[in-house]
């Protein structure tokens, strides 16, 4: 029961995010707004999230990979385009992704030292 209530809590914050997105016309998806609101909720109350919520969150995050599979399979619909321009696509996606990864990690390690 406690787990179901925690799941409801997550859905509730996502829905508040959805309402905010529609009313304020934010260019950000509702789960991201919900994430920010939920974080703010606990930071302002200066309280640890309830154990059931922590457990539910950890379980969802551990299985995050599974949730990407249905969208990921969508790649099969774009095979023709991917094939026709495969060289610029592969070069760009590989190099720019590694550049982004490397630059972000380097700047964070260099200037965010105290975070550790």
């Amino acid at each position: 029961m406690a787990v179901l209530r925690a799941f409801f809590f997550l859905l509730l914050f996502q829905m508040i995010g959805e309402v905010l997105r529609l009313v304020v016309h934010l260019p950000i998806p509702s789960p991201v707004i919900g994430m920010a609101l939920l974080a703010a909720w606990y930071m302002l109350r200066k309280r640890e999230p309830e154990p059931a919520l922590q457990k539910t969150a950890d379980t969802l995050l551990a299985w995050m990979g599974l949730f990407f599979v249905p969208a990921g399979v969508g790649i099969m619909t774009d095979i023709a385009l991917l094939r026709s321009a495969w060289l610029p696509i592969m070069i760009s996606v590989v190099i720019s992704t590694f550049l982004t990864l490397a630059v972000t990690a380097w700047v964070m390690q260099r200037f965010g030292k105290s975070a550790v």
């Binding site: 920010a36 919520l53 969150a57 599974l66 249905p70 099969m76 990864l101 972000t104």
Partner: protein, 240 residues
Amino acid sequence: MNINVLHLSLTPAAFMLFALVLTMGAYFFASYLHRKVHHPLANPVLIAILIVCGVLYLLHLPYETYFSGAQAIHFMLGPATVALAIPMVRSLEHMKRGFVGMVLALLAGSVVGMVAGYGLVRLFGGSQMVALSMLPKSLTTPIAIGVSQSVGGQPSVTVAFAIVAGVLVAVSVDAALAMMKIAEPAARGLAAGTAGSGLGASRVIPQHPVAAAFAGVAIGANGFLTAVLAPVVVPLLKHW
């Protein structure tokens, strides 16, 4: 026998059942393989996607039909993204201390991702549509779709690029950051979330709570920053 008739005779509930069992079965099998093989290429998400694609291809099932059945799993991305707030709250102290570095790193990652993504496609002869679709590929899928639309890209193509980028990060983040001697969970989470969004970060999130917290911030903040910066950066890129 025309195997295509198979899915027409199924009720929606039965079809949903098939899509869920197929997706979860593929993922659990892929996770099992991952534990056995210990090779980064045996990434569970990548293997599961390939298995499902293979099955759909063999059964002549169109993607839209499969997706309507697998919606329930896709829907879970929402509450899972909201759940990223929990490791964030737990790591509040880390976040306060690394705040300046975090903002600088996020800005650098957002701009590099856009400029390199667009520029490299153009440099190697790709069309402007492909280049603009590449620009938001590191963002979390819902934001990537919105940015792609607003800058003149093709959203479904952006989603395909986002998957490739995410899988690439998930598969190689350990080796790439080890090569750069970056071991701090904060930097690992932030970098994986910025470059590969949720899919890329799904590799580092279970490794360390601080990495999960910074990945969560990176997914939201990179989406937000890039959505705000793209309208400024894109006209400059097009000019060049």
